[in-house]
């Protein structure tokens, strides 16, 4: 692994809206690097694949179910030329928490386009509906995988070790993006620890532009302001033991991985403190604008969210638009708390010109996040001025 140290404000402008979630007025969101410094992998056959060395044809046993999982660097079966191409490496990231402690995290790096770019969350993979996507994972210091969460490709491209394989050197994941919406990608090796370490980023599928404008999805709403809120919680004990042993607990040790007691709470990589505005994550919009928030619970808590003062609409859940004959947008009244389980995404639209919201200009409306324990549902570290599981930021119109 190479080590990069996270520095505040290092977010480059590449791609406009990045992992740190800069607010960008846009008519045309940055597509994934459809052509990067490295061309697409070209028109050659991926070559043969020995499926017996993977969970696809290999016999599943108790031993290889978790401990001695299939690993390797096979060719991508049924290789076909891509038009969107990404590379992801695995890197160390040290995050300085509000109590001054540095916590070792891991993030996916993008060696082609984003040196120095923030790695927590990892750089966004942004593609267009219909794109044939190749994501090349370059593992280092042991195996990793990428599961493109909510994307539904073949088993070999799904990134789950015990039914396919873990990536030893490198592998090119292949899929074609069908649904425009908000997805994410994360490592699915010893997931309990590798996801906790920060090996995740957003994956956004944009619809094809209509009249030069990119909507939330085909036939869906246009938005002027886009924000990513990815919520995470961290238990420093977990980071310590995982950094020491990449395979912690895998082969029989009791590493206490059934016990998760987070002390740190982050919004899109920004460490927060209770009752202190997460300034970097606030949204500022002009009256009349539409705001699209892509909300992901990447924590291991029950996440409770509450928008003060503003009426919001859920327009898409888990990357599937609420535009089917059996569903519709969900309106959430101001001040109404709702919860998200781990890994769920809500695409939230705020129409500042709607009847409910148009008189709300000139205020900073608070948005509260509460991280609740997965067994007791009590807020973590209640009452603690430093470690309580609460965060907030604002939306100013």
């Amino acid at each position: 692994m190479t080590t990069t140290t996270k520095t505040a404000g290092a977010t480059a402008a590449i791609g406009g809206t990045l992992a740190a979630g800069g607010v960008a007025a846009q008519t045309m969101p940055p597509l994934g690097p459809n052509s990067t410094a490295v061309p697409g992998p070209g028109d050659y056959n991926g070559g043969s694949v020995d499926f017996t060395r993977t969970g696809v044809k290999g016999k599943e046993t108790f031993g290889n179910f978790g401990c001695d999982t299939f690993d390797g660097n096979p060719n991508t079966p049924d290789w076909t030329t891509a038009n969107a191409y990404f590379v992801r490496t695995v890197q160390n990231v040290d995050i300085t928490m509000p109590d001054g402690k540095k916590i070792r995290c891991w993030g996916f790096g993008d060696p082609l386009k984003a040196p120095g770019r923030e790695l927590l969350p990892s750089p966004v993979i942004r593609v267009q509906e219909g794109d044939l996507v190749h994501v090349k994972l370059q593992s280092s210091k042991g195996t990793h995988t990428i599961h493109h969460h909510g994307i539904e490709p073949t088993t070999m491209n799904d990134g789950v070790g015990h039914v396919s394989f873990e990536v030893k050197d490198d592998y090119v994941y292949q899929f074609q993006a069908r649904h425009a919406g908000t997805f994410f990608y994360h490592c699915h090796k010893n997931t309990v620890t590798h996801f906790e370490m920060g090996l995740y980023g957003l994956l956004i599928v944009d619809p094809k532009p209509e009249n030069g404008r990119v909507l939330a999805y085909a036939g869906g709403p246009f938005y002027d302001v886009e924000k990513f809120w990815v919520l995470d919680d961290m238990d420093p004990r977990w980071h310590q033991i995982t950094n020491l042993d990449h395979d912690v607990g895998l082969c029989g040790d009791d590493a206490g991985l059934n016990i998760f007691e987070p002390k740190y709470f982050l919004i899109s990589g920004t460490p927060t403190r209770p009752n202190v505005l997460a300034d970097k994550q606030k949204i500022v919009a002009k009256p009349g604008q539409k705001i699209l928030i892509r909300l992901l619970n990447a924590s291991y808590s029950v996440l409770q969210v509450m928008f003060e003062g503003l009426e919001v609409q859920v327009i898409s859940v888990d990357g599937h638009a609420l535009n089917k004959p059996w569903n519709k947008w969900l309106t959430i009244a101001p001040g109404t708390p709702f919860t998200l389980p781990t890994a769920q995404r809500y695409d939230i639209l705020i129409d500042t010109a709607s009847p409910a919201n148009q008189a709300k200009t000139g205020y900073a409306h608070k948005v509260h996040f509460e991280f609740q324990h997965w067994v007791t549902r009590k807020v973590h570290n209640a009452g603690d001025k430093m470690y309580e599981g609460r965060a907030f930021t604002t939306i100013t119109i």
């Binding site: 309990v192 912690v248 291991y300």
Partner: protein
């Protein structure tokens, strides 16, 4: 973790089809308007995925076969028809009192003295998925120790105007919910996305079966062995008020189960166990009735297909519909669903072609899609496509503090393309 002897199952232990058709003669009467079910409460031993054994408490079914007759966690899946009269006789083999209740069904709460018998009679409620359990003393203790099971109520009027079968009594739904449920079940088999014609419709399980090809029951739970250690077979539970007065606060689960199995023990279905794995062809939509009888908040995530969230229980105590089963008028398509303690959800896995398998190749001038090439045997990657389902609150993916992924993980399989089952059957 002990490298437990996983060959113990041997070839004979592997289930034949995993369909779970059990000899439920006891239920045949359910069809005719009255169901009589005889359950017992007894001690059992469960072997955990790492080979450790714990004592549990179980329901058993008089008239059942195999483990159902001797006691199994979870208890037998009971199926009755909406509006029918249901009589459940409970016999308590143990040396202490037990309780019984079907959450959300009035008139089902009772107590059974040690060695005694108790009978409840009630009218089967509105169609849906229910949890029966021992709630004696309003503690979840006996429930998490194994005294839990699922009651499925089949609809009286579950057929849409266009003739599609659904799990709900459409005449009892609010108009918006009826419209949404009808739109979804009518779409099955009839659209580009959900193909298959008449065969592409959802088919309910028989009243006499625990599960079927197109209907699975998943009962999520968790085990903290220090609570199981209170059980001594043939004796009342050891008194330990420090532990049992507030079960939730003292509960530190270290095994996470579906149908009382986890990890490798869920990779296949075995005879006598409640089956978990759906192995179907494209165009065979499958209903998952998922409940959580444990005490952790789970986030069940399916790979491979999004699922439609059909019904749930309102668990928000401040809501006007608290405790009620909600069939929504807004059916979300999700890859992750919140399974809180005592949540009951019905989700439809459409068995559509996994949407992100390259469907236009080559992308520059498409001539076809990879899935069809797989069906035609022109592709490298073979069937079955296997997709995991796991809880994303990943602590639940461990066993005994580590051993990822020996926890709450299961999978489902795409055996082949549209009409594949008929082709195989010849």
């Amino acid at each position: 973790m002990k490298r437990r002897d996983f060959l113990k199952y041997g070839a004979a232990g592997l289930a034949t089809a995993g369909v779970g058709l059990s000899p439920f003669e006891a239920f045949a009467q359910a069809l005719t308007g009255t169901a009589e079910i005889k359950l017992g409460i007894t001690d059992v031993e469960t072997r955990l995925v790492d080979g450790d054994k714990v004592n549990m408490l179980a329901f058993k079914l008089y008239g059942g076969a195999g483990p159902l007759a001797t006691g199994r966690v979870p208890g037998p899946v009971l199926r009755v028809r909406e509006g029918s009269t249901v009589k459940i006789t409970l016999t308590n083999d143990r040396e202490e009192a037990h309780g019984f209740e079907i959450t959300g069904v009035p008139g089902t709460k009772t107590q059974i003295a040690p060695g005694g018998t108790s009978t409840i009679t009630f009218t089967a409620p509105v169609a849906g998925t229910y949890i029966y359990h021992d709630s004696l003393g309003d503690t979840p203790l006996y429930r998490i120790l194994g005294l839990h099971g699922v009651l499925v109520v089949e609809p009286l009027n579950g057929v849409t105007l266009l003739g599609s079968r659904t799990p709900y009594s459409l005449d009892k739904l609010a108009p918006g919910s009826r419209t949404a449920v009808s739109a979804l079940f009518d779409a099955l088999g009839t659209t580009d996305r959900f193909q298959g014609g008449a065969d592409g419709k959802w088919v309910p399980a028989p009243l006499t079966a625990e599960a079927s090809i197109r209907e699975k029951i998943w009962i999520c739970s968790a085990i903290d062995p220090k609570f199981n250690a209170l059980i001594e077979r043939g004796k009342p539970i050891v008194l330990n008020p420090a532990l049992t007065t507030n079960v939730v606060d003292n509960f530190v689960p270290s095994y996470f189960t579906i149908n009382n199995r986890s990890g490798y023990d869920l990779h296949a279905d075995y005879d006598g166990m409640l089956p978990a794995i759906a192995k179907n062809y494209i165009g065979e939509p499958t209903l998952f009735r998922i409940v959580n009888v444990g005490l952790a908040h789970h986030a069940n995530h399916f790979h491979g297909n999004h699922l439609m969230e059909l019904a749930r229980v309102d668990l928000n105590p401040t809501s006007s519909t608290y405790g009620q089963m909600i069939v929504p008028e807004n059916i979300f398509e999700v890859d992750t669903t919140a399974m809180w303690p005592m949540q009951r959800r019905d989700l439809l896995l459409p068995f559509e072609i996994p949407p992100d398998i390259p469907y236009q190749i080559p992308v520059s001038s498409p001539t076809g899609g990879q899935f069809q090439r797989m069906v035609n045997k022109q592709a490298q990657e073979p069937f079955p496509l296997r997709y995991v389902m796991h809880c994303h609150t990943e602590m639940s993916q461990t066993a005994a503090g580590g051993n990822y992924p020996q926890g709450m993980v299961c999978h489902w399989e795409v055996l082949g393309g549209l009409g594949g089952r008929a082709k195989v059957a010849g």
